[in-house]
Symmetry: C2
Amino acid sequence: MEYVKVLAKEAQDFCVECFLKFGVPKEDVENIADHLVLANLRGVDSHGIIRIPYYTEGIRKGLVKPKSDIRVVEESSSITLLDGGNGLGIPVATKATDLAIDKAKSTGVGIVGVRNLGHVGMLAYYIKKAIGHGFIGFACVNAPAVMAPWGGRERIFGTNPMSIGFPMDDGRSIILDMATSVMAHFKIKVAALKGEKISEGVALDRQGRPATDPKEAFEGVLLPFGGYKGYGLVLAIEVLTSALLGALQSKYIRVTCPLRFK
Amino acid sequence: MEYVKVLAKEAQDFCVECFLKFGVPKEDVENIADHLVLANLRGVDSHGIIRIPYYTEGIRKGLVKPKSDIRVVEESSSITLLDGGNGLGIPVATKATDLAIDKAKSTGVGIVGVRNLGHVGMLAYYIKKAIGHGFIGFACVNAPAVMAPWGGRERIFGTNPMSIGFPMDDGRSIILDMATSVMAHFKIKVAALKGEKISEGVALDRQGRPATDPKEAFEGVLLPFGGYKGYGLVLAIEVLTSALLGALQSKYIRVTCPLRFK
């Protein structure tokens, strides 16, 4: 892999240019550029501008809509269920976060669930927004199935990440943002590109045997972090993000643009 | 260890009798008996009637009050912060759960934090209450420090358990209730009583070396489940249960009645 150094501003402008060409509204484009470049600046390159082709390919194939047509499905004073109208995940999830913050300002807590939307990027982005308003934030999502249940070997769950964050009095914050698989999917790709092995316990190959070759792991299945306890969280996140919202289970989510090996 | 079989009703009556003798109000006594016996019936003997001496000892020593004098510290329509007045944990936490359920009925979600109370027992008890009203439940607590941060060897955190549960259409439910240490503290005691070894990775001895002898583990420090990811949860639970509520951090919580080896 080769690296090229660019200024954050340049990366942001490039990002804006790309998404404008795909018919994404200006406001949403700026939101996406802000999100992706923040991910790079936080050192989470897997969720930075490297995702541009992944998102634009989704628009090109008609799998994700460039304009987000959000609809309220159900609402109470502290909770809203939204339908994202199959829009790009980042702008839809950003609007959902703004709505949750508004609700929290009035009742003390705001919870917004969204079904039917694209990949939402780095969860810490939304948590940072909540923290910016003085709130504790929590977010979780499911994703295309790449992980087995504890003791199993079938792809049933996404890497089902979660993020929680806390504001601090001195203006700093504590943010946890992690996949609930032992290793994030993208990091296995990176290991493959670097020609590195992965540890046992991270993944199984297609036959359900421990995989240490990242390519075999990629074709096989990831394992939950923390054994049966971590699996409990994986399952809880799956229920919160699919059954509760009337949204797709991980195993029915189509991959917009699979991560490929060069 | 020897086991004696008793009817649930008998265990409950015995429990009622014990706590009445310690001046606990009748309503609270029934609540505690219901809680402890339910734990036994769920197979969680570590949180069943075996806890009676632990709780009564706390009352006898004046560390926990037999009557719970609960005070509202802060309130919004979806959130309440309570001060438990150093009352017995189970009745205080049960009342807090009832309040959270009431709030959830009106705004969609109810969150109640409680500071200054005794050991709350089995978290699944409160989650089952929420589920009984058709709600998803989440609960977490901190506890006397027995766990090290990831990479550390000092007792900074309790076993900081969490529980989450979901009602299902067919009347059944899914409940996760777990310590965020690899192994619960009590299970290490059980291993010691049975003369069994524990796995490496569960605990460190006093010098910070991996402990497989449960007695050494008991004198040393437990480790978070799931490595640095599990540790992230441990820390999040600690913030939610101490800093957020103005309650004690795990390392300042006094042990009411330490678990002892025979």
